[in-house]
Symmetry: C2
Subunit: 319 residues, 2 copies
């Protein structure tokens, strides 16, 4: 649930006067995304989402996200299209914050993805990578291995408060990740946060991918590793290998993984679990008690790390 | 901002299977209403609002609200129409809570209503009362004078923490209200909470009235008194008499106020301000620091009470 910035009807009317979208006919804050404020906007010309970027979004990163969405939408990938105002700019300012209007996508996010949805998500992710193969912009992944080491160092003393003994397991995971992290795999623009709540399905098909605000340039297979974590685990760290098989084979209907990529999957999946464990650990520790958003529990990812620690190869993921 | 109940895609699909609305095509929690959870629901047949009633709503009151909305919508008043499931029932159960799907109304709520909007709201309120003149159900106002006395008694010791000396002013207001409260005025079904965020405007016209969950049977002029408080004050308790004049004359284009009603306006307005002062006082004192909803400041209404205390007659409100 996220509406941090309050937009009144007059402020909105002034903002919309710079577009060719007509006047607003409905406007409602929506509980979508965690980092930014989002509104459903209906005008005389259609429905849109207005996003106001809050303090965690870095202004210099926003053109990368805008251009990536535009690149995808132009290639008929179901991503929202940033809408340009009359001056040709999509990225604008509203109440002193960066803001953008994007197109509205229909569809429902699955709470418990089915194997069929995992298969379609896998295939969709491969099409996403293919559509971005000629995307010219770069953005380093600012939540990758070197950052994990810093994040852990900063919160090391709080880890055993979650589960006694967890500190040493995480430290060993990080040492292993540092040792084993692949040096050279096919790279490009990745979503890096493709959780089920960032995907829409309609009539059984993937109808939308949203929330590009962690997108960056990194190993394509790392995006698969994020999805294996986000789509294929049941509660208590149990990996559903049927869903893993569906996701991996779905992906490979569109793009074959190289032997190096296959070999790297357990390490990449362990790294992806580490990334979400650490960001949740920090949010958990740092969120004031009166915050409007309840932080997610980092333990879910501590449990997933337990699975990845024991995985021997891609076959443990259904590959 | 209000989404207290979490509804996943499968739960929603099961719920919708009892309706003839087709499958869901979009579903988003929205920041509308304070007491209940609200979702924008798009199906194959159109757009709707799904409301899940949270603990403050009394189940025995819900048929009154449903029938009132239906009565209004059938008479072409722009109120949401409760949608019946195949068994003919609009009021249903979702995750163990009462829930209803109502039609979606277009329009924008004004943050700072203009005089023109106050005039149209006044006229709309009179049409609302006229449309309900033959509404057969009754619901006592459970936030009226006897309740105010109890509410004040329960929080008396906290009033001077807001403003030193306020306690005695409020006690004197309550004594005056008890003395002066009218005994017999035209009565019927009233909205009782028609704040600007419960009204939508489109192309300058009143296009929607929502949130009927304080509606009850009481003096019609008390509804006007609520609106004078909610629509015609500027900051710091300053009454905008131009807006008051617009609201009152707008109302009287549709229904003339009787001499008794005119005479009662200052007392009714003082009572309405007392009602919102006291409910906000209680919410303010009772809301835990980690609550998802920030309570509204009761002082706005303490300042409005200051105006009503000095008002001599309806002419002080622009009447």
């Amino acid at each position: 649930m996220a509406v941090y910035t309050d937009i009144d009807d007059e402020t909105l009317a002034t903002f919309l006067s710079e577009y060719d979208l007509g006047a607003a006919r409905a406007f409602k804050g929506i509980a979508e995304g965690v980092e930014n404020s989002n509104f459903l906007l209906e005008t005389e010309t259609g429905r849109y989402i207005l996003t106001v970027f809050e303090k965690r979004a870095k202004a210099e990163d926003l053109p990368f996200f805008m251009n990536m969405m535009r690149h995808l939408a132009i290639k008929d990938f179901p991503a929202p299209l940033p809408v340009e105002a009359r001056d040709g700019e999509a990225l604008r300012t509203l109440k002193g914050k960066p803001a953008v209007i994007i197109s509205f996508l229909q569809g429902m996010s699955p709470r418990s993805p089915s194997s069929s949805q995992c298969r379609r998500l896998g295939a969709g992710l491969a099409r996403f990578h293919a559509a971005l193969a000629d995307f010219g912009m770069q953005r380093p992944n600012d939540l990758s291995l070197p950052t994990w080491l810093d994040m852990f160092a900063a919160r090391e003393d709080q880890v055993d408060q979650l589960v006694p003994g967890l500190h040493d397991l995480i430290a060993a995971d990080l040492a292993a990740l540092k040792e084993d992290w692949p040096k050279d795999l096919p790279s490009g623009a990745i979503h890096a946060d493709l959780f089920p709540d960032n995907a829409f399905f309609l009539d059984g098909e993937l109808s939308g991918v949203i929330d590009f605000y962690f997108a960056c340039t990194d190993f394509l297979a790392y995006d698969i590793a994020v999805c294996l974590n986000a789509w294929c685990f049941e509660t208590r760290g149990e990996f559903n290998i049927t869903k893993g098989q569906a996701l991996l084979s779905g992906y490979q209907t569109e793009r074959r993984l190289s032997p190096d990529e296959c070999e790297a999957i357990p390490t990449l999946a362990r790294g992806a679990a580490m990334r979400f464990f650490l960001t949740r650990l920090i949010d958990w520790a740092d969120t004031p008690k009166d915050a409007l958003v309840r932080p997610k529990n980092p333990l879910d990812y501590a449990e997933r790390l337990g699975f990845h620690r024991r995985a021997k190869g891609i076959e443990d993921y259904g590959g």
